[in-house]
Every structure is written in C-alpha cells, then in structure tokens.
Amino acid sequence: MSELRSLAVREQFATADQQRETATVGMWVFLVTEVMFFGGLFMTHIVYRLLHTAAFDRGSADMSIVLGSTNTAVLISSSFTMALAVHAAQEGKWRRLAGFLFATMLIGSVFLGIKFAEYYQHYREHQVPGFWFETSDPDPGGLQMFFVYYFAMTGLHALHMIIGIGVLAVLLFRSGLERFTSAYHNPVVIAGLYWHFVDIVWVFLFAIFYLPGLHL
C-alpha cells in the first residue's frame, strides 16, 4: 500500500495532499473561466430579454416542458451517479467505480438524445434562426433572437456534455486497468467537478428557456 501511495505522488509534489490540492485548485480556476465563458452569454441574454420580453416569453412557450423537465431530472440523476462514482473511487472499489462511470455516460447520452430530438422538432417547425425561420409573431426579430440564444447556449452546453462523456470514457478505460486506488483517484474527482458544473449550467438554462413561457 505504501508503495502504491508513493507511485501515486508525482515527483514535483512533496505529499499526496499537496498533489490533490493542486489539482483541485487548478480545476476550480478552470471552472471560473467557464463561468466567464457562459457568463457573457447569460449577460447578453438578459439584455435582449429586457428589450424583447414578450417575444422571449412567447418563444419560451414553444418549448416542450415535458422534454425540458425530464431532461433536467435526467441530468441531475447523472450528477448523482457521478457523485457515487467519486465515492466508490474514494473507497477504492474499482468495479463499482467503473459501473457508476458507465451509468453516468449512459444517462448523459440519454440527455443528449432528448436534446437532439428537441432540436429536430424545432427544425421541422422552422424555428431555427436564418433563412428558414418562419413566424407570424408580432415581434419576429425578438422571437428569432430568443432562438439564437436557445441554440447557442444549449448547443454550447451539449458540446460540454459530449466532451464530458469523452473524459468519462477515458476514466472508465483507466478504471478497468485498476489505475485508481483509495489513495490515488484525483482524475475521477476532477472529472466529477466538471460534470457537476455542466449540470449547474443546465439548471440555469432550464430556468431561462423553459419556465418563462409556462404561464402564458
């Protein structure tokens, strides 16, 4: 065990704790840059929403709340299995870790499937901004702007999900090789931080795109 532990600490670190703290701080700093990345879009969305409030509400009313709320529950479930994967890694149970990593990837894929089914529905209804956009709305520009934000922000979120599933695939492979022990599993925890962050972004996307039109 002591040998495994010394193998887990890379030579530039004095202790395993220092290594863990370095990885943790690095990931949190990265997540703050992600807050800035999504934050700009959220900010400009607020401004356009203020200028075209009624059109943004009507655009939101065109969303499927059944698919949207299901997807929120699906993504929260994937965060839960990710948390369980981290817990399994901390206990050094690599089979359970692999199982929960696979479950997280699977549930994440279900989310993407539902998301793309929604995109297809919008495409068929000519709600994709551009030449094909069709509407009889009194504020067609505002409505189109709603869909610009909808596709840009959920698309960027979906891209993060795809990257996350790729990261989990690498971890799944490495957990199969029994690379993670109760003493060394930083990559699992770090990937978990990323996955939960992507979940948080969706919580806000759900609130600004799906909920505002429900009372109409």
Partner: protein, 95 residues
C-alpha cells in the same frame, strides 16, 4: 488538508432535494406572477446550484483557497450583470 468524503446518505438527500426543487420550480412557473416568475425561477436555480456546489462538488468541505476562487467567480459575474444593467436600464430602451 486531506480529501473530504461525503456520505452516501448526504448524496441521496441532495439528489432527492434537487428533484423536488425541479418539480416545484416547474409547477410554480404555471402561475402568472408577473415579474416574480423570473425571480422565483432564478432563486430556485440558485438554490439548486448551491446544493450541487456545496455537496456534489464538496466545496463546503474544501480548503479556503477553493472558497476564494468560487467567490471570485460569482463576484465577477455579479459585477458584469450589475454594471451592464445599470447602463441599459437607465437608457429607457426597455419597455
């Protein structure tokens, strides 16, 4: 500082709370409360995000530097929103 370990019981409790909050925010959105629809939606989203950050991401149990970085991120976003809205809302463009 050694790694924080969160119990399965806590994870399950947070998971169920998040599902309940999702149901609550969806049902509340059906009521027409004017400007408060958005206030409630964002408030519940912030509560959900806080639960995820504190427990799923272990932020509550982490060392101080993590808290400083997290606070920096939130503060930066609030500066962005408040200064930009301070401009837009005083131009009389929004109806």
């Amino acid at each position: 500082m050694t790694e924080p370990v969160v119990s399965l019981k806590t994870y399950t409790g947070i998971f169920l709370s998040l599902l309940c909050l999702t149901l609550a925010t969806t049902l509340l959105a059906y009521l027409d409360l004017g400007v408060f629809n958005m206030v409630i939606a964002i408030t519940i989203a912030v509560i959900k995000a806080t639960l995820i950050v504190a427990f799923f991401m272990h932020a509550m149990y982490e060392f101080k530097l993590v808290h400083v970085i997290l606070a920096g991120g939130v503060l930066w976003f609030l500066i962005l929103v408040f200064l930009t809205l301070g401009d837009y809302l005083t131009r009389g463009w929004a109806k």
